[in-house]
């Protein structure tokens, strides 16, 4: 029998590179649990993406097109000339290291290439080689390296391990935003047909059928009817939403995840109950039935193509303005991109709440407001009858979604609502909320199941802060305003902080909302007994 290794030796086989080793010398190794399955050819073909074919990341042959290096470098030159962010961020990093320990994947996992600065260097090294003189002539000494298959694989592996959460950008003295670099890397990989199944599937669905899940019009209605049944059971009120209705005052758009996946469905029920109580003149659309935008995780052009449906549908239906539901990246897109891509929305009016008369000047151009802005205004003006004690079985904390926090600044609106619909609320520690919030670990289309290991690692910093308030204050419910959060934080809590569940803010609103003509409610939206009503809690 061969000599048995000591435990330490066993470990050192895989870890601890010699300190002198340069990161460029460590070839990428695609480890199961860290990446998503490759895209299917048919999904790429539907949206006319190049090099559409079935592809498996673990196979050595990636079935790349001829002269793929040329394609990438050409695209790089093109994007450098189109995006000042990309160009400046390629040039000005001083590698001070302030961002190094700000990424949730690095904090939770420890792979040095998950340090934002190094993730960006993966791209910068190639930029230097082909676009700077020092890199061209000094090569390695100037931190430059050639583009080859190993580099491409490294790009694919690590740029699909970035959730574009922008936390590093908050701490960077020059505001260098890794999200901008990741977006470019994803543009390049998409030119070679290197996408993931989890992203390209929803993109194809959304393009053809209007939503990520690929639900056809009748299925959407069907699902909403299911929720209406549940609402009737709970409140005794039958509500009657409309679909694709011309002449409605408001178009309501929310991520499709809320229509089908628990606990998002409870949030969707919440919207409908609130709108019904207000007698709001609004309509759903089955064509623009997706607020989210997985195209945003592939290329700028694809994101614009998917987003176009919202304004197009608003125009066709002749609505005055649009209300958007609770979603993270959806709002990054709506706040920073939509109007630029597909505006001007001059066929609509500046949003004005029909209930309070408040004019939302902050959406004067996009004509689209966030549902928490709408609801906060209602509460402030005393237009809602609320009984927060119905949420008394919940001890709540609030998770800021990356995109609404760092790509918008929607921080106090949801908090104001929560304070008015719940009695028990505790914030997580300062360095884990608001602009310093931690990602759920699964944004930008990384919420597949085959990469569960890295999702859990990336979700750990957030979960750890939740654990702290659970242990300290007995928190049992994590509120948020993001459909991806509602799905992925449920998984993360299940692993790291059992006993804490996840909710959208409007589920809490609807639970507290005293509706005209409702029967004495026995249960909350989840069908669980209300505090003090039956049950044995």
């Amino acid at each position: 029998m061969a000599k048995l290794p000591k435990p330490e030796e066993l470990l050192q086989l895989n870890y601890n590179p010699p300190p002198s080793e340069d990161w460029m010398d460590r070839p990428v190794e695609l480890k199961q649990g860290n990446f998503c399955w490759g895209a299917k050819g048919k999904n790429l073909a539907v949206v006319e993406f190049p090099n559409a074919r079935d592809w498996t990341p673990v196979e050595a042959d990636w079935k790349l097109p001829k002269d793929w290096e040329g394609t990438v470098l050409e695209a790089m030159a093109d994007r450098l000339s189109k995006y000042r962010s990309f160009k400046v961020f390629m040039d000005i990093c001083v590698r001070c290291g302030a961002c190094a320990d700000k990424c949730h994947f690095f904090i939770g996992g420890g792979d040095p290439k998950n340090m934002p600065v190094l993730r960006a260097e993966l791209m910068r090294s190639v930029y230097r080689k082909y676009f700077t003189n020092s890199g061209k002539y000094l090569g390695r000494l100037a931190g430059a390296r050639e583009l080859n298959l190993n580099v491409l694989k490294e790009w694919w592996y690590y740029f699909y391990q970035c959730t574009e959460c922008r936390r590093c950008s908050v701490f960077c003295p020059y505001g260098i935003d890794t999200a901008e670099i990741t977006m470019m890397a994803r543009e390049f990989t998409n030119l070679l047909g290197l996408n993931t199944d989890w992203i390209s599937g929803p993109v194809a669905n959304c393009y053809m059928k209007g939503n990520h899940l690929g639900l056809e019009p009748h299925a959407i209605m069907n699902s909403i009817e299911g929720m209406i049944d549940d609402i009737e059971t709970i409140t005794g009120i039958r509500i009657n939403p409309s679909f694709n209705r011309k002449g409605a005052e408001i178009l309501f758009v929310t991520p499709s995840g809320d229509l089908f996946a628990d606990p998002g469905t409870f949030t969707a029920m919440g919207y409908m109950m609130l709108f019904h109580e207000l007698g709001l003149d609004y309509t759903w659309s089955t064509y623009a039935s997706e607020g989210g935008n997985f195209g945003f995780f592939t290329s700028n052009e694809m994101a614009k193509r998917l987003n176009a449906k919202i304004y197009a549908e608003a125009k066709r239906l002749g609505v005055k303005y649009i209300i958007g539901g609770e979603c993270g990246h959806m709002w990054r897109v709506l706040n920073q991109y939509m109007d630029t891509w597909n505006g001007p929305a001059d066929f609509m009016e500046v949003p004005k709440s029909p209930i309070t008369g408040t004019v939302f000047d902050n959406a004067a151009s996009t004509k689209m407001i966030h549902v928490t802005e709408f609801t906060a205004d209602l509460i402030k003006n005393g237009k809602l009858k609320l009984d927060p004690s119905r949420n008394d079985d919940l001890v709540i904390t609030y998770h800021d979604s990356c995109n609404t926090a760092r790509g918008m600044g929607l921080l106090d609106e949801p908090r104001y609502i929560i304070h008015n619909v719940c009695n028990k609320f505790h914030e997580m520690p300062d360095n884990t909320i608001r602009e310093r919030t931690f990602c759920c670990g699964s944004g930008t289309g990384l919420n597949a199941s085959e990469n569960m290991d890295i999702r859990m690692r990336g979700g750990y910093p957030r979960a750890n802060a939740v654990k702290h308030v659970r242990d300290k204050h007995g928190v049992n419910m994590l509120a948020n305003i993001c459909a991806i959060d509602r799905a992925t934080l449920s998984a993360s809590m299940d692993y790291w902080v059992p006993g804490v569940r996840v909710t959208g803010v409007h589920e809490l609103v609807a639970n507290a909302l005293l509706m005209t003509g409702e029967k004495e409610r026995e249960t909350n939206l989840r069908g669980e007994p209300l505090p003090g009503k039956g049950g044995n809690e």
């Binding site: 870890y15 590179p17 469905t265 199941s449 290991d453 890295i454 799905a487 449920s490 692993y495």
Partner: protein, 187 residues
């Protein structure tokens, strides 16, 4: 002086050495961060390990109960179970304690009595390691559960509407999934 008293006296030194050996299982660039960043929210992994081994060590010296030790082990292993370690790598840190202790007492003359105590303690550490394996397996199984649940959660409403399942709603919390699982077994 009994072994446990000796170890108690050297507690901080032993824990530091144990901690260092665990950090050696991470890349050097990471280990520095895990060691130096003391904020438990900015560095949950490092702090969880630090606190975890302290708790384990304390329980071990006090012949603490298995429930508590399992809970402390769980805190550490839950982290390592999702950090690209193999099963042996993930739980090996428990065995590190043996060599840490031996190194820590190498200057003390080993009497028969001490030797006997050491053997007993090492046997206890071995049991800890076995528990650690169980916990590691539970964590991995949990991940598979989560994967499966997520898929079901995602399509629950669809299945419901498609009448592929009938709604089974008990008084109990969150048993939708159980309902689906039961139903699936039947069909």
């Amino acid at each position: 002086m009994s072994l446990k008293n000796i170890l108690s006296d050297k507690k901080s030194e032993l824990l530091a050495s144990w901690f260092d050996r665990i950090l050696d299982t991470y890349p050097a660039e990471t280990a520095k961060f895990l060691r130096n960043q003391k904020d438990r929210f900015a560095n949950p992994v490092g702090q969880t390990i630090r606190e975890g081994i302290e708790d384990i060590f304390r329980e071990l010296l006090q012949d603490g109960d298995i429930e508590k030790v399992s809970c402390y082990l769980d805190n550490v292993i839950r982290v390592r179970a999702v950090q690209e370690f193999t099963a042996s790598q993930a739980v090996a840190f428990v065995f590190f304690l043996k060599s840490v202790i031996r190194d820590g007492i190498k200057d003390i003359p080993l009497t028969d009595e001490l030797f006997h105590e050491l053997m007993t303690l090492e046997a206890q550490i071995d049991s800890l390691a076995l528990i650690a394996f169980d916990i590691f397996m539970q964590c991995r199984e949990k991940l598979y559960d989560i994967k499966a649940n997520e898929m079901k959660n995602m399509t629950y409403r669809l299945l419901q509407r498609a009448n592929m399942i009938t709604e089974i709603r008990d008084e109990e919390k969150d048993n939708n999934l159980i309902a689906i699982q039961k139903k699936e077994v039947k069909t």
